[in-house]
C-alpha cells in the first residue's frame, strides 16, 4: 500500500535503541522474526522511521530493502509518527455507506491535513483506517483511541475543539 514518508525529525533516544537491540536479540534464531521485531520496534518508537529500520537491518543481518519491503507492505506499520492528537476515521464498508468519507473530508478541510499524514509540528495526525469492528456505532472515528460513534459532519468541529 502507498505510504507517505515522514516530514517530522527523528528524535529517538539511546534508551529506545537499547530496548530495540534487546528485542532483536530476543528473536535471534526464531523463524520468521522480522514481523514481530518490527511490531515491537513500533511499540518502542511509536512508528518506524528509516533510522530504526536501518538498525534492524544491520543487527539482523538482512538488507534494508527487505526490511523496507515488509514495513511498507503492511498497513499497520506506520512510517509517520502519530500526532499528539491522533485522529483515525474508519473507512470500513459499514461506516462508509453511513457517510464516514464525508467525515474524513471535513477533518481534512478543518485541519488542512490530508489523510495519512502528520502536521510538521507533530500536533495532529489523520489516518483513514480499515474496519475497527465497531460497525454498530457507524460511522465512527477515534481520537487517541477514544471512540466517537454515530457521527454527522456537524459533530466534527465540536470533537476537534476538545483537543485544541
Amino acid at each position: 500500500m502507498k505510504k507517505n514518508l515522514t516530514t517530522v525529525m527523528f528524535r529517538g533516544t539511546k534508551a529506545q535503541e537499547e530496548q530495540l537491540i534487546a528485542v532483536i536479540e530476543k528473536y535471534r534464531g526464531t523463524k520468521g522474526a522480522l514481523m514481530p521485531v518490527l511490531q515491537e520496534a513500533q511499540e518502542i518508537y511509536g512508528y518506524l522511521p528509516i533510522e530504526v529500520q536501518k538498525i534492524i537491518a544491520t543487527r539482523m543481518g538482512i538488507s534494508l530493502e527487505e526490511v523496507y519491503g515488509v514495513s511498507t507492505f503492511y498497513s499497520q506499520f506506520v512510517l509517520n509518527p502519530k500526532g499528539e492528537v491522533a485522529i483515525a476515521v474508519c473507512l470500513g464498508t459499514a461506516c462508509y455507506v453511513k457517510g464516514s468519507g464525508d467525515l474524513l473530508d471535513k477533518i481534512t478541510q478543518v485541519l488542512g491535513l490530508p489523510a495519512g499524514s502528520t502536521t510538521p509540528d507533530g500536533k495532529y495526525s489523520l489516518e483513514a483506517t480499515r474496519c475497527i469492528g465497531a460497525c454498530g456505532l457507524a460511522p465512527v472515528l477515534t481520537v487517541n483511541n477514544e471512540v466517537y460513534g454515530k457521527l454527522g459532519v456537524g459533530d466534527i468541529e465540536g470533537i476537534l475543539a476538545k483537543y485544541k
Partner: protein, 598 residues
C-alpha cells in the same frame, strides 16, 4: 451466596461505547452497597445486538438492558438488585411490539428468534477469560472424545460427512482439506493454522468469536492436529484486534495450565501447542498462501497453487489452514454428531453462517442463521428493517470480493451456491445493507479503491488492471464517462478475473460486475444524464435552496466555509454554485430542511 449474575458485553462494539466503565462502576457500586458477594459481574463476548450497546443481561430474570450509561449503574443496583424492580426505561423493547415485556425471554425477540447459534453459542454467555466456564459448557469434551475414542481417520470422516465448508469465503469442504493433509501421518512435520486475519471491511464475526469464545478455536485446532498428525499450531490474528489477542493469550495460557495444550494431552501420546502470530493489516494475507508467507516473516505475497498448503504449506511442510468460524463449529459437530449438523442448512451448504449485519439497518450487529435463510428474513425480521422509512436497495455480501443483491432477489435463500449464482459470494460474512441513498457506482469505486490499495503487486492483471478499473470509475463519477466505458469495464474485469494469481485479483472485479449487472441504469444516469440518482457523487450534484422553505435565518450563510451563500435576513437565500465546494455544511445546519441536492 451469589443470587444474581450480571453479564456485561465486552465485545469491541460495546467496549467502544464504554462497557468497561460500566463494569468498573458496577463493581464499585456493589462494593459500596455490600452486595459484592451476592451479585456477580461477568464480562462476556458479543451478544450480537451491537446497535443497542452497551448491553447487559441480568440473570436469573433474564432482564435485557440496552444503551446503558455508567451514570445508570447506581439506579440499576438500587432499584433492581436491592428492591427487585427492573429499571423499565433501560429494558430493551422491540420497536415494533411495545407490549413485549421484559419477562419474555430474549430468545423470543425478533432479533434472536430466527437465529441459531452454533459458532456463537458461548458468545455473550460465558466469561471468555475463564476456562472453567468453557469447560462447564461441555468445552474440551470433544477433544477428549476424539483422543480417547476416535481414530484420526474417524475424525476426518465425521467432518467430511458433516458437509462443513470453509467459512472464510471459499467454501471448500473442510474435511477434504484435512484428508489431503493427512498423508504420511507421523512421518513428516505438519502444522495446523488458523486464519484470524479478518480483513474484509465491515466484517467482525471472527473477532467476536475470538473475543467471546477463544477456547472453541483452540480445542478445534487440537482436534485438527490430531486428525492430520500435526504437533504445532499458529493463529494468525490481526494485531489491530487487541481484545481478541489478549483473550487468546489468556486462553492459551489457561489451556496449557490445564494440560489441554502441551505434551500428552488427556494422558495420550498426543502433543500439541499453539503460538500466536500477529497480522499487520494486509488484506491479501487472508489468502492462504500469502498468510503462510507472512507467518514466515516476509511480505505477504501469494504464490501459485498447486502445490496446495495441504502438501506444501508453512515452512514447506503440509499444513491445514481454516478460518476462525469454521473451527468454532468443529467441537459441536464432534459432540452432537453429523445428523444434528446436517439437519441445518441447504442441500450443499450445511449448518449455520454468522453475518456481521451493518450499514443502513436498524439492528446492526452479529447474527447467526441456518444456511438457506432468505435475505428478507435477515434484513426485515432479524435486522429490524431499514431505519428512517427508507427503502431497501441492495445488500452487499463478500466485501471487496463479493457483489450486491438487489431488492428483487431479496427472497434468495442464502447459501454458498445461490450467492455465486447471482454474482456475489458468501465471503467471510459481512452483510452491508444499503438504502436508496447509496450510489452503486460510488460503492463499486469504494471497493476498487480498497483492492487497488491492497493488491500486493506481484501479478500484473491485479496490480495494473484494478488500477485501470478504478480510473474508469473515477472518470464516470466525475461526469466524464462515455457509454463505451461500460464495455471497457466488463472486458477488463473478465481479464482480471481469469488472469490473476490469487483470490484477491480473481474476485476484485466482482463489485463492478455485479453493480453493472443489477444497476446498469445508475451507471447510464452518471454517463448520459450526468446525474447521480442517489445524490452521492459530488461532481454531479448541486446544492440548492428551496425558496418556499427558506426562512432567511442566515445560519447556512454563516456556516458556509467559502461564503457561497448570500441573501438578506428573513429572505430566501441562494447558493452560488460556482463557489460551492459541496461540503454539505449548509444542509446539515439548516433547521427547516430547505436545502437539497440534485
Amino acid at each position: 451466596m451469589i443470587r444474581t449474575h450480571v453479564l456485561i458485553c465486552g465485545g469491541t462494539g460495546c467496549t467502544s461505547s464504554n462497557s468497561l466503565k460500566i463494569q468498573e462502576a458496577m463493581n464499585a457500586e456493589l462494593i459500596a452497597r455490600g452486595l459484592e458477594n451476592e451479585v456477580k459481574v461477568v464480562l462476556t463476548g458479543c451478544f450480537g445486538l451491537c446497535a443497542l450497546g452497551p448491553v447487559m443481561i441480568v440473570y436469573p430474570e433474564g432482564t435485557f438492558y440496552s444503551c446503558v450509561k455508567p451514570e445508570d449503574v447506581p439506579e440499576i443496583v438500587e432499584e433492581h438488585f436491592l428492591k427487585g424492580r427492573p429499571v423499565e426505561r433501560l429494558v430493551y423493547h422491540e420497536a415494533k411490539d411495545e407490549d413485549i415485556h421484559h419477562a419474555t425471554s430474549l430468545s423470543e425477540t425478533a432479533f434472536y428468534k430466527k437465529q441459531k447459534r452454533v459458532a456463537l453459542r458461548n458468545c455473550g454467555v460465558i466469561d471468555p477469560e475463564n476456562i472453567d466456564e468453557y469447560i462447564a459448557m461441555d468445552g474440551y469434551q470433544a477433544l477428549g472424545k476424539v483422543l480417547t475414542e476416535m481414530t484420526p481417520n474417524d475424525v476426518i470422516q465425521t467432518i467430511l460427512d458433516s458437509g462443513l465448508r470453509g467459512r472464510g469465503g471459499g467454501g471448500f469442504p473442510t474435511g477434504l482439506k484435512w484428508k489431503f493433509a493427512s498423508n504420511n501421518r507421523g512421518q513428516v512435520k505438519k502444522y495446523v493454522a488458523c486464519n484470524a486475519d479478518e480483513g474484509d471491511p465491515g466484517a467482525f464475526m471472527d473477532r467476536s468469536i475470538l473475543e467471546g469464545d477463544p477456547h472453541a478455536v483452540i480445542e478445534a485446532m487440537a482436534i485438527a492436529a490430531y486428525a492430520i498428525g500435526a504437533d504445532e499450531g499458529f493463529i494468525y490474528v490481526r494485531a489491530e484486534y487487541p481484545i481478541a489477542v489478549h483473550r487468546l493469550e489468556v486462553a492459551i495460557k489457561q489451556a496449557r495450565e490445564y494440560g489441554l495444550l502441551g505434551k500428552n494431552i488427556f494422558g495420550t501420546d498426543f502433543n500439541f501447542d499453539i503460538d500466536l502470530r500477529f497480522g499487520a493489516g494486509a488484506f491479501v494475507c487472508g489468502e492462504e498462501t500469502a498468510l503462510m508467507t507472512s507467518i514466515e516473516g516476509n511480505r505477504g505475497e501469494p504464490r501459485p497453487r498447486p502445490p496446495f498448503p495441504a502438501v506444501k504449506g508453512l515452512f514447506g511442510q503440509p499444513t491445514v489452514l481454516n478460518n476462525v468460524e469454521t473451527y468454532a463449529n468443529i467441537p459441536q459437530i464432534i459432540l452432537k454428531g453429523v445428523d444434528w449438523f446436517t439437519s441445518m442448512g441447504t442441500e450443499k451448504s450445511k449448518g449455520t453462517k454468522v453475518f456481521a449485519l451493518g450499514g443502513k439497518i436498524t439492528n446492526t450487529g452479529l447474527v447467526e442463521v441456518p444456511m438457506g435463510t432468505t435475505l428478507r428474513e435477515v434484513v426485515e425480521e432479524i435486522g429490524g428493517g431499514i431505519p428512517n422509512g427508507k427503502k431497501f436497495k441492495a445488500a452487499q455480501t463478500g466485501g471487496p470480493s463479493g457483489g450486491c443483491i438487489p431488492a428483487d432477489l431479496i427472497d434468495t435463500p442464502i447459501d454458498y451456491d445461490n450467492l455465486i449464482a447471482i454474482g456475489s459470494m458468501m465471503g467471510s460474512g459481512g452483510l452491508i445493507v444499503m438504502d436508496e441513498d447509496t450510489c452503486m457506482v460510488d460503492l463499486a469505486r469504494f471497493f476498487l479503491d480498497f483492492t487497488v490499495d491492497e493488491s500486493c503487486g506481484k501479478c500484473t492483471p491485479c496490480r495494473v488492471g484494478t488500477k485501470r478499473l478504478l480510473e474508469i470509475l473515477d472518470k464516470i463519477i466525475a461526469g466524464n464517462g462515455e457509454m463505451e466505458d461500460l464495455d471497457r469495464l466488463e472486458e477488463l474485469s473478465n481479464y482480471i478475473k481469469s488472469a490473476s494469481l490469487c483470490g484477491l485479483g480473481q474476485t476484485a472485479p466482482n463489485p463492478v460486475l455485479s453493480t453493472l449487472r443489477y444497476f446498469r441504469d445508475e451507471y447510464i444516469a452518471h454517463i448520459v444524464d450526468k446525474k447521480c440518482p442517489a445524490g452521492v457523487c459530488k461532481s454531479l450534484l448541486q446544492y440548492k435552496i428551496d425558496p418556499d422553505k427558506c426562512k432567511g435565518c442566515t445560519l447556512c450563510a454563516r456556516k458556509c466555509p467559502v461564503n457561497a451563500i448570500s441573501g438578506t435576513v428573513k429572505q430566501p437565500h441562494v447558493i452560488d454554485t460556482s463557489k460551492c465546494i459541496k461540503c454539505g455544511a449548509c444542509m446539515d445546519s439548516c433547521k427547516f430542511k430547505a436545502i437539497y441536492k440534485e
